[in-house]
C-alpha cells in the first residue's frame, strides 16, 4: 500500500512566489519525496485539482466569485488545509482595494472594467473555510513549508517560532535600525521567520511576515510619529503587504484618518 502523504498545492489570487519555496528547497525536497506524493502542484507539473489529499497547501487570497466556489471544493477534498503566505493568511497586498474606491482603480487599469469579475474585497482563506494551519510570510520560506510538511508526516503539530523580528535581529547581532538610525522599522510588531533580512542590511522591516503575537501596533506608530514620520507615512507602514491583518489594519486606519483630518 502506498503510505506516502498525498499533497496538493493550490493557487488563488497570488503571485506564485510562496509555492515556489517548495521548488527552491532543492535537495531537502528530494529527501522528503519517499514519504510524499504531490498529487496537484501546477508549478511543478502535477495537475489534479479535484483529487482528495491528506494535506493541501493553499496560496493566494479569495478575490473572485470563482475563488469562493473553488476553496469550498479544496476544503472538502483535504484532510488538513494549510494557508501559506500573506495573501492566504491576510488577503495580501490586493486587499488594499478593500478600503479604496475599487471601481475607480479598475477603471484606471482595465480598458473594459465591466468584464472583471472581482469581489468587492480580497480576503484570507480562513474567512471562507476552516484552516488547520497558517504559515505567514511574503513570501513564505523553504524551511517553513518543509517543516509543516514534515510535521504532518510525523503526525505532530508544527513548531513555528512566533517571536518578534527584534529577537532574531539581536540573536544575529544586527544593529537596531530604529534606535541607531531612527528608521521606521516594523520589526517590533512583526512575526519572525525571515531571519531579520532587512535590518541586517540596514533597512527597516516591512512586516512581510505579518503581525507577531501580542503586538503593540499603536505604541510603535506613536514612536514613528515622534521620529518625525507624517501620519500618511505611518499609515503606509501598516497598510502594506499585510494591510488586512486586523491589528495592522486598525493602526493604519487610525493614522490615515489623522492624515485626512489634516489634509
Amino acid at each position: 500500500m502506498d503510505t506516502r502523504l498525498r499533497v496538493a498545492v493550490h493557487k488563488f489570487s497570488s503571485c506564485d512566489g510562496c509555492q515556489l519555496a517548495f521548488l527552491n528547497s532543492g535537495a531537502d525536497l528530494l529527501r522528503l519525496m519517499p514519504r510524499v506524493e504531490f498529487v496537484h502542484f501546477a508549478e511543478a507539473g502535477f495537475i489534479a485539482p479535484d483529487a482528495p489529499v491528506d494535506v493541501a497547501f493553499v496560496e493566494g487570497s479569495i478575490s473572485t466569485p470563482q475563488d469562493v466556489e473553488r476553496i469550498e471544493r479544496v476544503r472538502a477534498n483535504s484532510r488538513y488545509l494549510v494557508a501559506i503566505g500573506a495573501c492566504a493568511t491576510a488577503g495580501g497586498l490586493q486587499a488594499l482595494r478593500n478600503d479604496a474606491d475599487a471601481a475607480a482603480w479598475m477603471a484606471a487599469v482595465y480598458p473594459r472594467p465591466a468584464e472583471i469579475g472581482a469581489l468587492p474585497v480580497s480576503s484570507a482563506i480562513a474567512s471562507h473555510v476552516p484552516v488547520d494551519e497558517e504559515v505567514w510570510g511574503c513570501p513564505v520560506n523553504e524551511w517553513q513549508l518543509l517543516h509543516v510538511l514534515q510535521a504532518r508526516i510525523f503526525g505532530v503539530r508544527p513548531a513555528i517560532e512566533n517571536d518578534k523580528v527584534c529577537l532574531e535581529c539581536k540573536r544575529r547581532q544586527a544593529v537596531c535600525v530604529l534606535v541607531a538610525q531612527g528608521a521606521p522599522c516594523m520589526g517590533p510588531v512583526t512575526h519572525t521567520g525571515c531571519g531579520a533580512l532587512c535590518p541586517r542590511v540596514r533597512r527597516a522591516c516591512y512586516a512581510c511576515y505579518g503581525p507577531a503575537e501580542n503586538p503593540n501596533a499603536q505604541a510603535l506608530a506613536a514612536r514613528f510619529a515622534q521620529l518625525g514620520l507624517a501620519p500618511a507615512a505611518i499609515a503606509r507602514r501598516f497598510l502594506s503587504i499585510n494591510n488586512a491583518a486586523p491589528v495592522f489594519h486598525e493602526a493604519g486606519i487610525v493614522w490615515r484618518e489623522r492624515h485626512d483630518d489634516h489634509a
Partner: protein
C-alpha cells in the same frame, strides 16, 4: 591600584601583537552599521578613534569628532554576553543508527583563546553574574565554560558615560576595579596600564611600557571623577524586593505595558539576561536531529508557555516579570540585583522605556 606603566598611543598595536603572539584571537570595539560593536580586531587603527556617542532613551547616534581618543564613548549594544553565551548554538545531535537505535552526541565547539579589548566596569560586573549563573552552580554549562576558560580581559576605565548610564548608583563603575587582566586609563598621549592578574602582569612585561607619571595617573582619576558626576540617572542598588513584590497591582505596570512593545530588545542587550529556549531541528529525511538553544526573553509568548496554557499572556505580566526578577528575586538567587547600570535597555528600547523611572515609580512609597 598602582599603575604598572604607561603605553604610548603609538604602541597600542604592540599590545594586540603581544596577545596574538601568545595565542589569543583579539576582539575589540569597532564602528559597524552606526554603532560601536565587538568584532575580531587585528589593527589598533580599526578601533573607534575619534568617535563619540550620543545616547538617550530609544536613540543612539555616533559622530566622528576627529579627536585623539580610541575609547571616548560609552558602551554600544553588545556586552561580553554574546561572546560567551552564544545567541544560538548546537547542544546535542541524535542520529538514527542502522540497528534502529539512536546515537547521541553532545559536541562542545572549540573556540580557542580570546582576548577582549575595551571592556567596561559594568560589563565586568555582568560577567561575574554570568559566571555565577553558568558555571557557579551544580551543573556548569560546558559551552559557556569553554569560552570563559581562555578569556583574557583588557578593561578600559570608562571616562565618557552616556546619558543613559547609571553604574555609579549600582556600584559597578565607572572604574574597572576587579575581574580584568589588564586595565587601561586613556590619556592624550596613550594609556596608563594596570595589571589585574598574573596573566596581565605577564603580558605587560612583553610591552614597551615606561613608568606612568603622576600627572597621567591624576588625569585618569580626574576623568573618572567627571564620569561619576556626569551620570544623572540612578537606580537604588538596595534590595528592591519589598517595593516590587509589594506592588504587584500597582497601576504603573499597566501604564508601562501600554507603551512597551514586548519586543525583548531590553533583555537581548542586557549583559546579564540569560534566558534561553531550546528546539529540535529534524533533518528532512528524519534520519538525524539537532537540538539547539537560542536566546529567549521573558517578553515572548513561548517563554511562559507550558502544556495547554501561556502563563504570561499580556505585556503587563511580562514587563513585571522582567523587572521583579532583574531587580528583585535576583537578590535571592545571586546575592545582588541583576542590573549593573549599563543603561543599554534604556537606549535600545525602541520606545525608550527607562528602567530607572519604572522602578522608581513602582517602588515609590516603599521604604
Amino acid at each position: 591600584m598602582a599603575a604598572t606603566g604607561f603605553l604610548l598611543r603609538s604602541h597600542l598595536q604592540d599590545l594586540l601583537d603581544a596577545l596574538v603572539a601568545v595565542g589569543y584571537r583579539c576582539v575589540g570595539p569597532q564602528v559597524r552599521d552606526g554603532a560601536v560593536c565587538y568584532d575580531t580586531l587585528r589593527e589598533a587603527a580599526d578601533l573607534p578613534w575619534g568617535w563619540r556617542d550620543a545616547q538617550n532613551p530609544g536613540t543612539y547616534r555616533l559622530r566622528q569628532t576627529g579627536g585623539a581618543y580610541a575609547f571616548a564613548w560609552a558602551n554600544g549594544p553588545q556586552g561580553l554576553k554574546p561572546l560567551l553565551f552564544a545567541p544560538r548554538e548546537l547542544l546535542q545531535t541524535s542520529i538514527r543508527a542502522p540497528d534502529g537505535g539512536l546515537r547521541f552526541a553532545a559536541p562542545v565547539a572549540s573556540v580557542g583563546a580570546m582576548a577582549v579589548v575595551g571592556v567596561r566596569a559594568c560589563d565586568l560586573a555582568a560577567l561575574r553574574l554570568l559566571d555565577q549563573h553558568f558555571i557557579g552552580g551544580f551543573v556548569p554549562d560546558p559551552h559557556y565554560a569553554a569560552r570563559r576558560a581562555d578569556l583574557f580581559l583588557i578593561a578600559v576605565h570608562c571616562s565618557h558615560p552616556a546619558a543613559t548610564c547609571f553604574c555609579v548608583s549600582t556600584g559597578d563603575g565607572p572604574r574597572a576595579e576587579q575581574g580584568f587582566d589588564l586595565a587601561l586609563g586613556e590619556t592624550e598621549a596613550g594609556f596608563v596600564v594596570f595589571a589585574g592578574s598574573a596573566a596581565g602582569a605577564g603580558l605587560a612585561e612583553r610591552l614597551p611600557l615606561r613608568p606612568a607619571q603622576a600627572a597621567e595617573e591624576a588625569f585618569v582619576d580626574a576623568a573618572l571623577a567627571d564620569a561619576v558626576k556626569a551620570q544623572t540617572r540612578s537606580l537604588p542598588s538596595r534590595d528592591l524586593r519589598a517595593g516590587l513584590f509589594g506592588n504587584l497591582r500597582h497601576p504603573r505596570w499597566e501604564a508601562v505595558a501600554s507603551r512597551c512593545l514586548s519586543c525583548g530588545n531590553c533583555t537581548a542587550v542586557c549583559p546579564t539576561c540569560f534566558c534561553h529556549g531550546e528546539g529540535e531541528e529534524v533533518a528532512a529525511d528524519g534520519a538525524s536531529s539537532a537540538r539547539y538553544r537560542q536566546w529567549d526573553s521573558c517578553f515572548t509568548q513561548e517563554h511562559s508557555a507550558i502544556h495547554g496554557m501561556v502563563i504570561r499572556a499580556d505585556t503587563r505580566q511580562r514587563y513585571r516579570q522582567w523587572l521583579t526578577h532583574k531587580l528583585g528575586s535576583w537578590h535571592g538567587q545571586y546575592g545582588r540585583s541583576g542590573c549593573v547600570g549599563c543603561g543599554r535597555c534604556i537606549t535600545w528600547c525602541p520606545v525608550g522605556i527607562d528602567i530607572t523611572e519604572e522602578a522608581a515609580a513602582v517602588c515609590a512609597g516603599t521604604p
